[in-house]
């Protein structure tokens, strides 16, 4: 039986290794490391869901979504390094914003321990968003499909 595609967004390989090991019986794993790559993947064929990292600390600045200069001015008194750090720390949600704006509204699951109010805010902004605190294969499998 054909499996739905699972878009895995991260700055390394840990999520896709995990997904191929524990979720591959139900999902075909397709990785992406940036919003542009994700949009390319989504142009090829639709996906059934997305699994996202939040923090992209290993991403190169040119691969990050977000205007670092504007963030520095608006939030950090012009401090570019703090703005860059902030962009990396929020990168998963910033990429999700780009994908939602491009019309991709599939379920998004973060492996992250969001506070309740922050998760509620993400749902208000981006619709079908879930989070699982750790790499629990059963919990993530359920979150992707429940």
């Amino acid at each position: 039986m054909e499996r739905p595609r699972l878009l895995v967004l991260e700055d390394g390989t840990e999520y896709q290794e995990f997904a191929r090991m524990f979720l591959a019986d139900r999902w075909e794993v397709v990785p992406a490391r940036s919003a542009d790559q994700a949009l390319e993947v989504l142009k090829e064929a639709p996906v059934g869901a997305m699994l996202l990292d939040l923090r992209f600390e290993r991403a190169q600045p040119e691969d990050l979504t977000g205007d670092v200069t504007a963030v520095a001015q608006r939030m950090f008194g012009g401090d570019i390094q703090r703005a860059l750090r902030w962009l990396k720390d929020q990168q998963g949600t910033l990429i999700l914003k780009v994908l939602r704006e491009a019309g991709h509204h599939q379920r998004a699951v973060f492996v992250h321990d969001f506070a309740e109010d922050r998760l509620a805010n993400l749902r208000r902004l981006y619709g079908d968003v879930h989070s699982v605190p750790g790499f629990d294969a059963v919990a993530i499998g359920e979150a992707l499909t429940a």
């Binding site: 840990e14 290794e17 995990f18 090991m21 524990f22 919003a35 542009d36 923090r55 600390e57 190169q60 600045p61 040119e62 691969d63 990050l64 979504t65 977000g66 205007d67 670092v68 200069t69 570019i80 390094q81 703090r82 860059l84 750090r85 962009l87 492996v111 321990d113 506070a115 605190p133 750790g134 790499f135 629990d136 294969a137």
Partner: protein, 137 residues
Amino acid sequence: MTEPRTKHLPHDSMHDAMHDSMHDLIHDLIHDVAKYLTRVARNLPKDGPIPEVLGAMLVKDLYETHRQRPASARFDELAHAIEDPALRAGLRAHLTEIDALEQGVRSGDAPSMRRAAELALIFDRELRAFVEASAGG
């Protein structure tokens, strides 16, 4: 040519020096250490042999956790965020024991792998309990 989403910047070599709050450091501990330390540990088969491919992933989680270095090395960089010395020492002791098991884990010794996985889960549980208690207090 597509406009880049960010302007090009020099790599932030001062990355860690930029952390200016204990809150950030604690969240780094959760993200950089606990989350990846338990990636396989959380999903090991309850009994029976541990598949080789899972063992290889476990090695990566425990001993190449953050930028190819063991979890204990990253913990040492961030541990000053934990003000309670007893908790800090307790968490470090779990990682010390994990490090001591490295030879057995790398050689596929099932008892070593299971003990290391158990310690990883204990570390994660104790660190998250500390974070919850801190948030509550």
